[in-house]
């Protein structure tokens, strides 16, 4: 691995040809001016990392810059928004469906499960109980202060002196 290996002598001579390749005349006279004018114009240095581009700018500017740089991204976002809107419209137009109860959807019924049978009243038991779609029926008589049916636990007050 000796770099001065004579085997590469001819190759090194050939590589000298590269040193004779020169850009067009006047190229290096204009080069610094172009660099400085690009710096003055505030141009980013070409293919910067996204993180570098986003640094030091507001989130809205950053977002717009991402969209400017990648038209495909804004197309994808727009398509997704349209799809979401369409799904929303379709769902809004559908009539309300009967909610399917958890018990109905499963195979288990109160009869088949003793624990459930105890917890959930059967249809016979619900005759006097109000359900959400039926009128409210009270099982207890309403006791009012001025009704004829007196509550035995309290007596009406008397302001007459004692003994009378």
């Amino acid at each position: 691995m000796n770099e001065n290996n004579d085997n590469f002598h001819e190759l090194k001579r050939l590589l000298k040809l590269k040193q004779h390749e020169v850009p067009p005349p006047g190229y290096f006279s204009n080069f610094p001016g172009e660099v400085i004018s690009r710096i003055r114009a505030g141009e980013p240095a070409g293919s910067q990392d996204l993180a570098e581009q986003l640094r030091g700018t507001s989130w809205l500017e950053s977002l717009l810059r991402v969209f400017q740089a990648k038209p495909g991204v804004i197309g994808g976002v727009a398509t997704s928004l349209c799809l979401l809107l369409l799904i929303g419209v379709v769902l809004a137009d559908r009539p309300d469906q009967e909610p399917v109860g958890i018990l109905a959807s499963s195979e288990t019924t109160p009869e088949s499960t003793p624990a459930l049978a105890a917890a959930v009243p059967t249809s016979a038991d619900t005759s006097g109980i109000a359900v959400s779609t039926n009128p409210v029926v009270s099982l207890q008589p309403v006791a009012t202060l001025f009704s004829q049916q007196q509550n035995p636990l309290f007596q009406s007050a008397s302001f007459a002196p004692a003994g009378q």
């Binding site: 590469f8 001819e10 090194k12 000298k16 040809l17 590269k18 240095a45 070409g46």
Partner: protein, 206 residues
């Protein structure tokens, strides 16, 4: 009546004699004239490195400009651990390698012309003489074949050949620029030369 003072015209050559460190310090504070001087000092080497890696003048021009712009915008992060020149080289090398990776193997050759001295270079004269295996080959054809052979190398191998054999950068500096050890530089150089020699066998006498 007071006359307004004439506007002072900044001397464009005032920075020419300044040390690199002073120029960097001025440029870091936004002095574009100082940075202009830094660009003038290193433009040829940076351009040449990128050009020899891409074999394309337009790409080299774009990448060289972008390297200098990137370096200016990143000057505040330059700690001075290495020389500005090495740091700038590192930016240019990374930019070039990223560019070549994106371009993959789609090479579009756009070569610079050979200067007048090429025809009088004794080494090159010897190469195109009747002593070479391939006779009557022109310098232009040799240039094209050499660039095509270089483009066949992988980027890390091409980079060490360009930096060492074409640009004359030392092994130590290459290791510093590429962020690897000297042993890696030497082994890459040896392998790259072997590859090149096999690609160019009919043009060089071994």
């Amino acid at each position: 009546m007071l006359m307004p003072e004439p506007a002072t015209i900044p001397d464009a050559n005032a920075n020419a004699g300044m040390l690199e460190g002073d120029l960097v310090r001025h440029a870091r504070h936004g002095d574009l004239r100082a940075y202009d001087e830094l660009v003038k000092r290193y433009q040829e080497r940076i351009y040449a490195t990128i050009y020899h890696m891409t074999s394309n003048h337009e790409d080299a021009n774009d990448l060289a400009q972008e390297s200098f712009i990137k370096a200016y915008s990143a000057l505040k992060s330059f700690k001075g651990g290495s020389s500005f020149y090495t740091w700038l080289y590192r930016i240019a090398v990374n930019k070039t390698i990223n560019f070549l990776k994106q371009r993959k193997n789609k090479h579009h050759i756009s070569l610079d012309d050979l200067d007048f001295n090429a025809e009088h270079d004794p080494d090159l004269v010897a190469l195109v003489s009747d002593k070479t295996p391939q006779r009557n080959v022109s310098l232009g054809e040799l240039q094209k074949k050499l660039n095509e052979a270089l483009l066949k190398l992988s980027e890390p191998h091409r980079m060490v050949v360009v930096l060492h054999d074409v640009q004359g950068v030392s092994h130590e500096e290459i290791a510093d620029i590429l962020g690897c050890n000297i042993g890696t530089v030497r082994s890459r150089l040896f392998y790259a030369r072997q590859q090149l020699q096999s690609y160019l066998a009919e043009y060089i006498k071994t």
